[in-house]
Point group: C2
Chain length 343, copies 2
């Protein structure tokens, strides 16, 4: 589309300014080799005409790419929304266009999105969705990204992936440990876990932390019910129903993300089960709304916005020989949804 003669070309600007197209190009892309005086005049003319360079031509001619891609599992999910905020913020500051793609937690979709971004010649790709425990699920993506990097592309991932790239790593395991520890400290022993897909590294790591806490307390984790459902509010509801049906005597539900925890709270409220009086509930992520729920959600805070910022900043830096990694701390935030285990 957009083929016409209304759209201004660099040549139009050059003519209007009375310089060659090369000089015009240099002036606008702020490359050296033009007298500041001429450059300023050209920029003035361009601004006045409302000229905006054709990104495709620029990219094709070998100019630097002014866009980056962000791959999330699900934009509807506040976890990713906040990461996206961070990425967009840095992007805006750096004058970068951000293309957001989502995968629905499907590795095949992820691969396709990665390829699309590469085809779009984005300068950097941020993979924000969790990795998969099984490396083979991302094998092809790994290969494509490696080729992309060799060709000069930058890659950063958020979370544990089998992709070799700069990474922002939330300490999910420590978070899982902390929140489980918290429940155990409150005297809970009949705890159920509501989790998303266990094939995700995020889930696996959080779960590992939980298990660790049980072990540290000398308790068996083997008979703790772990209910797997979609990593969403709806999944949380589903998990809660299942848990209440099979284990009506639980005193705490440990959800592995806030969205699920919100679903759990909703079911408990519908059933007239008091929180934390009868059942304590915990989440993970500390999404913006967690503090405004009633009861306010006890959860593990992850600095999602900062993680998004960090990821893009890392990707933008000069590539290092070996992948960089930055860990993001997890802080237990105790609010009103947890209390002592009922006697």
């Amino acid at each position: 589309m957009v083929k016409d003669r209304t759209t201004l070309r660099l040549q139009d600007v050059a003519e209007a300014a009375g310089v060659s197209i090369a000089t015009a190009s240099r002036s606008l892309s702020r490359t050296s080799g033009v007298s500041e005086e001429v450059a300023e005049r050209v920029r003035g003319v361009a601004r006045e005409m409302g000229y905006v360079a054709n990104v495709h031509a620029r990219s094709l001619a070998g100019g630097a790419s002014r866009s980056v891609g962000l791959i999330v599992h699900e934009i509807g999910d506040p976890y990713f929304t906040e990461i996206a905020s961070g990425v967009l913020r840095v992007g805006a500051r750096e004058g970068l266009t951000v293309q957001i793609c989502h995968t629905g937690r499907d590795p095949d979709q992820e691969l396709e999105q990665i390829r699309t971004l590469i085809a779009n010649r984005v300068g950097a790709i941020i993979v924000a969705g969790s990795g998969f425990v099984d490396p083979s699920q991302q094998a092809q993506a790994k290969e494509d990204l490696a080729r992309y990097r060799r060709a000069g592309g930058r890659v950063a991932v958020i979370g544990r992936h089998h992709l070799s790239a700069d990474a922002v790593l939330p300490d999910n395991q420590a978070g899982g440990r902390a929140v489980a520890q918290h429940l155990l400290d409150l005297g809970h022993r009949r705890i159920a876990v509501a989790t998303g897909l266990r094939s995700l590294t995020t889930v696996a790591d959080r779960l590992a932390g939980v298990e660790e806490a049980f072990a540290a307390a000398g308790l068996s984790f083997a008979d703790v019910p772990v209910v797997e459902a979609p990593f969403t509010r709806q999944g949380g509801k589903q998990a809660a129903e299942e848990i209440l049906a099979a284990h009506p005597d639980v005193t705490a539900v440990l959800a592995l993300n806030d969205d699920m925890a919100i679903g759990v709270l909703s079911v408990l409220r519908d059933r007239g089960i008091s929180v934390p009086g009868q059942v304590s509930v915990t989440g993970f992520d500390d999404v913006a709304v967690a503090v405004d729920l009633a009861p306010a959600l006890t959860t593990v805070r992850l600095p999602m916005v900062e993680m998004g910022e960090q990821a893009l900043l890392m990707a933008l830096k000069e590539p290092s020989a070996r992948p960089r990694r930055r860990t993001a701390g997890c802080d237990l935030v105790v609010r009103d949804s947890t209390g002592k285990a009922p006697a």
Copy 2:
């Protein structure tokens, strides 16, 4: 970036398949003029090699654009997140890349984002953020978009804008009327309104509806306190503080979006003011979390996801002579945050 000899070119595919570059192009872009047999073989070779066409070259050569731009005020805002979901869903279905930009509700930023999208030669631009009451604030954007349309670009807006383009129009005024009516029916007379920027058409329209309901009930709107603050959770808190300080006797707070309502609820909870016992609260939008709050929020439902879908679908359709418009209904959803006015 990405200039190298690892990235496959169309020519590589053509050579591997033993055809000319023209035939390869036709095969891959499914243009007619190639025998199905050859085309299939070329596609097979390309797939096997992992070839992905360079979007920039394709676009520059005059091919159809496979990307669209979405402009939102704030991705952190669930209202826009849900619209984005809708747009991304349709985009994925149609094989389109979606570039999301946010403006922070700043008309200048908006203009810049529009220009960037045009420079990116996106095939369509969806403006999802509210318009501004003052046309002059978007005058330049209007001009740029008009030029873009003349050049073959597609534009759709969500909400009332002074931009002439296909539009998805939520009936904000009816919604405002309905929710105000609801409070009046419950016997509330000392009502305060918490609102975002009144320079936004969305706010103006909702407010007009509220005013209408007052008029219909034979009540004066003149002395209803209308507190303006950012259209966010934080803004809601701020507004609530102000309202409680200046008008401690209000029995209802009508917030003009859910985010603000959540902030209001939070302040009331902190102050130990019961909802809806002492004060009723209403929102607007019906974001996903509204139903899971405690108390569940009475609000006006807007089909945000569908609005996003509609907007992109409209933009993708053959352009019509005159702008199309689709209205999106507003439904009052009564939940637990509103009750009879205390005696």
